[in-house]
């Protein structure tokens, strides 16, 4: 049972909504949640985590989707001794109807602590805190109501994508449909570990990258176009009239030096071959400047966090690919990458690390692609070339 919680109580104050208030709300209805409050207060006092290394728990037929978790203070907080989480795969773009959402809540009220993360940082609904015995029944009910587990362990993790065409004028492909299609197509890869390590897919439908794909996904799909953006000169004039300093704030910030602004006639022009499609001018002059019409995506690979060889940003693999159902080209590429990585990757080695160890050249051959200058920031500086 949780006793006094002065430290957590302090975090109920202040303008930002309080997770402690939420924990206490759940605690009122659920003993595990109540004990969780105690465990966390103890951590605040001891300045140390009270969770042990997770054991392997799960549901029938799946190799992941559940994170086992045991407390190291079960005597004090017996109801939180087992506090596993379930990862529920989210609908593309994190769109919900309230009916579905309420169902998710109701099932969790029945089988879990009533605490959740909306969402985990990979994108899943994180259901926090249940016992081993409840995992299967909870899972069965979720499946019944149309929800399935996301990934954990050495599998494909739940793909995610930006809001895209649902609410954004800049979507260069249908990020929602693509993510849904890929997720459905790769259910086996999501649920049954067979790779060296985890693999993540994220899709942003334009270079603004609203799901931070380039930093967090082994396979990064970022929308772009091959023709030119278009400029409506009348709208340009409206921006200028409203006080925008087009030369300083737009033109001078263009990384491609592609824009020229003629103050005399108020016209803004683009040199299409110089535009690197950074989105800046489009972002800031949304009414005047529109993305191109020949749309698709750049495919990049290798993004990941620092463990173990340092962090990577994804790097360009395919400068341009059309992204259209049934998405055959992108799936073929994924299979080639997985095959190569599966064959050459060591245990706990992300694909970027395997590429780093074996060389990008070998990787390119492995996935049947030709080198192009778009793949590099610059050619090599050293003379240590293999022939």
């Amino acid at each position: 049972m949780a006793g006094d919680t002065p430290m957590l109580d302090d975090l109920e104050k202040g303008p930002w909504p309080s997770f402690v208030k939420e924990m206490k709300r759940a605690a009122k209805k659920n003993k595990a949640a109540e004990d969780l409050v105690g465990v966390v207060e103890l951590s605040y006092k001891d300045k140390i985590t009270h969770w042990k290394h997770g054991g392997i728990v799960g549901v029938t037929g799946y190799g992941g989707g559940v994170i086992g978790r045991y407390s190291d203070v079960p005597e004090q907080f017996p109801n939180a001794e087992q506090f596993h989480t379930m990862r529920i795969n989210h609908p593309s773009g994190w769109f919900y109807n309230t009916k579905s959402l309420r169902t998710v809540c109701d099932i969790w009220e029945k089988h879990g602590s009533g605490l959740t993360n909306f969402h985990g940082s990979t994108g899943d609904i994180i259901l926090l805190g249940t016992k081993t015995e409840n995992l299967q029944p909870a899972f069965d009910e979720y499946i019944e109501h149309g929800f399935d587990l996301g990934g954990s362990g050495s599998v494909l993790r739940s793909p995610s994508g930006c809001v895209g065409p649902a609410r954004c004028e800049w979507a260069c492909f249908d990020s929602l449909d693509l993510i849904y299609d890929l997720t459905q197509s790769f259910q086996d890869e999501l649920h049954r570990p067979r790779w060296p390590y985890k693999f993540k897919i994220k899709a942003s439908a334009c270079p603004n990258d609203c799901v931070a794909a380039i930093a967090r996904a082994d396979f990064t799909i970022i929308g772009t176009w091959r023709d030119s953006l278009s400029i409506n000169q009348e709208e340009v004039k409206v921006y200028a009239e409203k006080g925008m300093n087009i030369q300083k704030d737009i033109v001078a910030n263009c990384p491609g030096s592609a824009l020229t602004y003629d103050e005399s006639n108020g016209e803004l022009h683009v040199q299409p071959e110089d535009c690197v499609r950074c989105m800046h001018c489009i972002n800031k002059m949304s009414k005047a400047i529109k993305i191109g019409k020949d749309r698709g995506a750049t495919i990049l690979v290798g993004g990941k966090a620092p463990i173990l060889k340092g962090a990577f940003l994804s790097f360009v693999l395919v400068p341009f690919m059309k992204i259209e159902p049934p998405y055959t080209e992108i799936k073929d590429l994924l299979f080639k990458i997985w095959d190569w990585w599966d064959e050459h990757g060591r245990n706990r080695e992300r694909v970027a690390e395997t590429i780093g160890r074996r060389g990008f050249k070998e990787f390119l051959k492995g996935v049947d692609l030709k080198p192009v200058p778009q793949m590099v920031k610059h050619p090599r500086t050293n003379p240590f070339v293999f022939f």
């Binding site: 975090l11 202040g14 303008p15 930002w16 997770f19 939420e22 709300r25 759940a26 966390v40 605040y44 300045k47 140390i48 985590t49 969770w51 042990k52 799946y62 994170i67 978790r69 989480t85 795969n89 989210h90 773009g93 769109f95 919900y96 309230t98 579905s100 959402l101 309420r102 969790w108 009533g114 909306f118 969402h119 940082s121 994108g123 069965d140 499946i143 149309g146 065409p165 004028e169 929602l176 449909d177 849904y180 997720t183 990258d209 931070a212 380039i214 930093a215 300083k248 910030n253 263009c254 990384p255 499609r277 950074c278 800031k284 949304s286 620092p306 463990i307 340092g310 962090a311 940003l313």
Partner: protein
């Protein structure tokens, strides 16, 4: 056979009519005030989005509250953002203000759209993770309480993305955030040789250490491991592989602060965050030293940056030497890289500021 592998629900079930009708046909948008924007479709339809701050760690009753609002004003649809905010999508203009009132009654902040601080991407911390060197939810609450005005008002020249990770596994885009708070250990693992051989595989534990700090215990009678402590960089990789090597320590644990990362391709290419403050000990429940450093950085940035300039763009323009002098943060030997590729980070030009 049991039903499995059905995947997530089809998102099409989750879209309100206005989105279905104008799918892929949005024309432009306008940010009307903090937390409120309007998208206009080619058809002329207008969609209002109200963005609501969430603690992310929520009870099911929180979700139900939000569902009530969505039922009342949004035909029963809503979404979450990639930074865990709630977005309420309104097709009737007249619903916007009453809805905002209702949300305020729930005690939830509205903001995060446009040039401001949005919700903090974060992780599990002491709530759930065995790896954590700090708490995540508590840090987020303490920081957002301090910086709330940057969420609810326009006080910046660009977006400012904050992330918190409770250990250097960095679950989140922490390594590419304008401001990143990362839990770190600063003491080597404490090897428990009494249970080690029972729970860990000795060779793979040795192999897990990137610096080669772990070796077999020299005493032949002990079937366990020993550490060259001076070689340990507290990465925790051994602990991930072997539970008998915990690093967590009430004194040694705390956070580091990294700054100036971004992921968008707008203007400058994506950048990693760089070390600003190497270590601040944990001081729950409010980590006052952390929040004051952050507030200072945000204020200095807000004052010195130019229009549209993200944190990292500003620092690149004025130089890191200026960043340190303007913020008053001390530059130490820890700031100088000594990981692989470190030599590339040394300044090979005479171009710098005093």
């Amino acid at each position: 056979m049991k039903k499995t592998d059905i995947g997530p629900p089809d998102f099409r079930m989750m879209l309100p009519d206005i989105i279905k009708e104008n799918y892929g046909k949005w024309q432009h948008h306008e940010i009307l005030k903090p937390g409120l924007m309007k998208h206009v479709a080619e058809s002329g339809s207008e969609l209002y989005t109200v963005r609501v701050g969430s603690p992310r760690l929520v009870s099911i009753d929180f979700i139900r509250d939000i569902c009530d609002v969505a039922d009342k004003y949004c035909d029963g649809f809503l979404r979450f953002t990639s930074r865990s905010n709630v977005e309420l999508l309104v097709s009737k203009k007249e619903n916007v203000e009453p809805m905002i009132e209702d949300i305020k009654k729930l005690g939830l902040p509205i903001g995060g759209i446009g040039d401001c601080i949005s919700n903090i991407v974060h992780t599990q911390g002491w709530i759930h993770c065995h790896s954590s060197a700090t708490d995540a939810s508590g840090l987020v609450k303490a920081i957002m309480d301090e910086l709330i005005e940057y969420f609810t008002e326009f006080k910046l020249h660009a977006k400012l993305r904050i992330a918190v990770a409770c250990c250097i596994n960095m679950c989140g885009a922490v390594h590419c955030s304008d401001l990143a708070i990362v839990g770190i250990h600063t003491k080597p693992p404490k090897i428990d040789n009494s249970k080690l051989s029972a729970v860990c595989e000795i060779p793979s534990t040795i192999a897990s250490c990137p610096t080669g700090a772990i070796h077999r215990h020299p005493d032949k009678n002990i079937n366990g491991l020993e550490l060259k402590e001076e070689r340990c960089m507290y990465c925790g990789n051994c602990y991930t592989v072997c539970p008998a090597m915990p690093l967590a320590d009430p004194v040694g644990d705390g956070v580091a602060i990294y700054v100036g990362g971004k992921v968008s391709n707008a203007r400058k290419a994506p950048m990693f965050s760089k070390l600003a403050v190497p270590f601040i000990p944990n001081n729950p429940p409010r980590w006052p030293e952390v929040t004051s450093v952050l507030k200072n950085i945000v204020e200095v940035y807000a004052k010195n940056s130019r229009k549209y300039e993200r944190m990292g763009e500003w620092i690149e323009r004025v130089g890191w030497e200026r960043f340190f002098s303007l913020t008053g943060i001390q530059f130490t030997e820890q700031h100088i890289d000594d990981f692989s590729g470190a030599m590339d980070t040394l300044r090979s030009t005479t171009q710098f500021r005093w």
